[in-house]
């Protein structure tokens, strides 16, 4: 019989198919074809991007010229703009404000064909440190309340370019999903005086059935009530609520585990399209006892349709215990 499982943080129910769980081979989808042609993110085309706001480059290279190993640039055609006032206002019962924000693109490597399986641990560390550095800089602007960091890989997952990149959007409000997670975590903390994520880590390490991988600083596991097959979370074992406040010396072990998990997903599911998103605390709440930053990796193997949109329920055809086993063995 299928199971209804409840996410302990946000209270969302999911349907898990426990009888005939789909295996990786049932879920594999055709990788999107290379589109080729001119790439504005490749070395030599720096003039096609806005001036870089952060880069790692060889000593003798000039900004906005070749010789870089990672660049962060503002979005050339941003949906939000970093100018003017918020001008918060109401129209009757409706709230609105000016479209203020910052949208940056992290160009992860000069190698157009690179992917999570080919990047070295050092390169992956630099990507994660770039997120941290940009968050710390943007945090100085008190108009921002949240920074969303995410990666789209593959056309199905929303990537418009093959060149490896991730994105960061600084917002003047805390979005709905982090708010819901925060509210759930705070309710749990008020009742038990413990961080729910720390409790989840303890329980997952104890049972091991949903653990994918771990090292001395981080844990990767399949959540108990995942919305999607092979949804995988990576959390620091020690309690940190704000990603950007995490000590730099933790980043190589984060990169090691993150890279290992992405390689496992690529091996098990033949390089699926995926998204990963950083869940972190709002910028003005850096030391929360009840929040715990983490990455959520979502391989894009199933479609979200009317039932999910209408109910907030998700149907997951692969039990997380099976997914964890497949990924451990991949």
């Amino acid at each position: 019989m299928p199971e209804l499982r409840k996410d302990p943080i946000v209270g969302r129910w999911v349907i898990i198919s426990t009888e005939r769980g789909k295996r990786p081979s049932d879920l594999t989808i055709e990788p999107s074809k290379s589109r080729g042609g001119f790439c504005p993110l490749c070395p030599g085309n720096e003039d096609k991007t806005p001036p870089e706001v952060y880069s790692l480059r060889s000593n003798n290279s000039q900004p906005n010229k070749p010789g870089w190993s990672l660049r962060v640039v503002p979005n050339k055609f941003p949906a939000l703009v970093n100018e003017g006032e918020l001008n918060k206002r109401g129209e009757g019962i409706y709230d609105l404000m000016n479209g203020f924000g910052v949208h940056e693109v992290i160009i992860e490597t000069p190698v157009h064909e690179a992917n999570a399986s080919t990047l070295t641990i050092a390169e992956f560390t630099n990507i994660l440190l770039a997120y941290r550095e940009r968050m710390r800089v943007l945090k100085q602007d008190k108009r921002f309340h949240y920074i969303s960091v995410f990666k789209n890989y593959g056309e199905v997952a929303g990537a418009s370019l093959e060149h490896p990149h991730s994105q960061l959007i600084a917002l003047p409000v805390v979005p709905k999903q982090p708010l819901e997670s925060l509210a759930g975590a705070q309710t749990y903390f008020n009742y038990k005086e413990r961080c729910i994520y720390c409790d989840i880590i303890r329980q997952e390490l104890s049972s091991e059935i949903r653990v994918v991988a771990q090292n001395r600083d981080f844990l990767a596991f399949e959540p108990f009530a995942p919305r999607f097959p092979f949804e995988t979370w990576i959390l620091p074992l020690r309690h940190y609520s704000a990603f950007e406040e995490t000590p730099v010396d933790k980043f190589p072990t984060l990169a090691e585990l993150f890279s290992s998990v992405l390689k496992k997903i690529n091996n098990a599911l033949s390089f699926p399209p995926f998204n990963y998103m950083l869940h972190t605390s709002p910028l003005d709440k850096s030391e929360l006892e009840y929040d715990h930053w983490h990455f959520e990796i979502i391989p894009r193997l199933t479609k979200v349709a009317g039932f999910e949109w209408g109910s907030g329920f998700y149907i997951n055809p692969t039990p997380p215990e099976d997914a964890a086993r497949y990924l451990r063995e991949a």
Partner: protein, 118 residues
């Protein structure tokens, strides 16, 4: 006289742009699809291109990438009714992005701004 190639599958838009651009003193070349755009680009070597994104057959993005393979510096202004293309980083190969409007002031200002830097 500066030559501008206007690429749009809608004839009414092509004619609107042509009239306004000619009034502003530009020579105008028109193309109605991707193939014609690439042909006219090679034949006429324009100083600037106004390029629609959503066209039947090959899209404006395909045209943009093809032209960039041949000429990385010719200014290209994307003109589209669809704001969602801002999410497509392939558009970064262009120089500007203008949302289509009956009021051509923003487009004309952008053309002047780009050509004055050349």
């Amino acid at each position: 006289m500066k030559r501008i190639l206007v690429v749009d599958d809608e004839e009414s838009i092509r004619l609107l742009y042509q009239e306004e651009l000619q009034d502003q003193g530009y020579e105008v070349i028109l193309a109605g699809d991707a193939e014609e755009a690439l042909l006219k680009f090679t034949e006429t070597n324009p100083h600037l291109i106004i390029l629609d994104i959503k066209m039947p057959g090959r899209s404006g993005i395909d045209v943009l990438k093809s032209i960039r393979e041949q000429a990385r510096d010719v200014p290209i202004i994307l003109s589209t009714a669809y704001g969602e293309y801002k999410q497509n980083f392939e558009t970064w190969a262009s120089d500007a992005y203008v949302v289509k409007s009956a009021n051509l002031e923003a487009l004309m200002n952008k053309i002047r701004e780009i050509l004055s830097c050349r």
